[in-house]
């Protein structure tokens, strides 16, 4: 399963790479190259695309791990409420705090993705 997922992601990434330029001979004029962006090997558009891809992969991983962790915590809490119904109030308080603390880790990853999405990549020279 994991191998198929990795292969899918890599094929998606490779379709967005810029096409390989033909090797120009060294004595070719540099006039043609002046119209390219003054950036280095990677233009800002591809950097933006790579950043979005990495961000989405990270966010997916965070959401999956967050869901697993919260389900474990909730499962133990509900089992113990069933065992000891008079402790329901204290357990409820602890569960809500615990779930919110786990969820805040997923929120941090979302915030990093927002940064990657909203930053102006054209402001930076690469």
């Amino acid at each position: 399963m994991l191998i198929i997922f990795v292969m899918m992601v890599l094929s998606l990434i490779s379709t967005t790479l810029p096409a390989q330029e033909a090797q120009t001979p060294a004595y070719a004029t540099t006039q043609a190259k002046a119209s390219e962006t003054p950036a280095g090997p990677a233009s800002t558009t591809t950097l933006f695309i790579y950043a979005i891809y990495l961000g989405i992969i990270g966010l997916t991983a965070a959401a999956i791990s967050g869901a697993f962790a919260q389900s474990k915590a909730l499962r133990t809490a509900v089992e113990n409420i069933g065992r000891n119904p008079s402790a329901a109030d204290s357990i409820r308080g602890v569960v809500i705090i615990g779930l919110a603390l786990i969820e805040s880790l997923v929120i941090y990853v979302l915030l990093i993705n927002l940064i990657l999405f909203f930053v102006k990549w054209t402001n930076y020279k690469f």
């Binding site: 308080g93 809500i96 705090i97 919110a100 805040s104 929120i107 941090y108 979302l110 915030l111 927002l114």
Partner: protein, 241 residues
């Protein structure tokens, strides 16, 4: 995507620019004097003040409906503080209750048309977190004295203070950051989801379930903020046996 300019923010800024132009100071006509999150925060404060002033007008020994509801509201915070701090926590109920009310109302007000949440801006949530940070440190210093409060950071004995002190400092600063980021991320993320759903799908019907979820998470986030502040206060004010 561009910001939709709120009506109230436009009116307030026009009024201020006109007032300043009477004195002779000119402003750039395309920019705001007071940004939208501050106008919304002042609006939320005004709503809370007016509502509570009207609510405590006729207090009775046998409470009517509104007083009953407000007493339940007060008992909620009282129960919260009693669980964590004990009986001496009564003095902290005004600060925590006000902060909780402000955060809850300002989270919810973003769902109305032509209104934005002030807490969707990181400066407002950082302000709330900085307030709680200074408040619980000040309460700790008031309780233990400055040197005594510093000693609570150094751990059980002096031999290990080199280990405990950096850990405690980092954990306290991470508390500040985590309070800010949690509230900002939840409210701004929810706003962003509603905006994106409204842009790309039907504008009126489809955001409604997401808005219902947003009501729930707004109240939950306010509760979490107050609960965590109570825990930090309890940690700062605690008496060691």
């Amino acid at each position: 995507m561009e910001e939709h300019r709120l009506i109230i923010v436009g009116l307030v800024n026009k009024l201020l620019k006109w007032l300043f132009s009477l004195v002779g100071i000119g402003f750039d006509p395309h920019k705001d004097i007071i940004p939208s999150h501050i106008v919304m925060a002042l609006l939320v404060t005004a709503i809370i003040i007016v509502f509570f002033k009207l609510a405590v007008k006729n207090l009775d020994l046998f409470p009517g409906k509104m007083q009953n509801a407000l007493e339940m509201f007060y008992k909620f915070f009282q129960g919260l503080v009693d669980d964590m701090i004990g009986h001496e926590g009564r003095q902290f109920i005004p600060a925590l209750g006000t902060l909780g009310t402000f955060i809850a109302v300002s989270n919810l007000i973003g769902l109305l048309p032509e209104m934005g949440s002030p807490t969707a801006n990181i400066n407002v949530t950082a302000g709330c977190a900085i307030f709680i940070f200074i408040y619980y440190h000040a309460q700790g210093v008031k309780r233990h004295g400055p040197w005594g409060y510093f000693k609570t950071f150094t751990g059980p004995n002096w031999g290990l203070s080199w280990l405990f002190l950096p850990i405690e400092i980092v954990s306290h600063i991470s508390r500040l950051l985590s309070l800010t980021m949690r509230l900002f991320g939840n409210i701004f993320g929810e706003d962003m989801v509603i905006v994106i759903i409204s842009t790309y799908l039907l504008s009126f019907i489809v955001p409604l379930p997401v808005m219902a979820l947003a009501i729930f998470t707004s109240l939950l986030q306010a509760f979490i903020f107050v609960m965590l502040s109570t825990i930090y206060l309890a940690g700062a004010v605690a008496e060691e046996h």
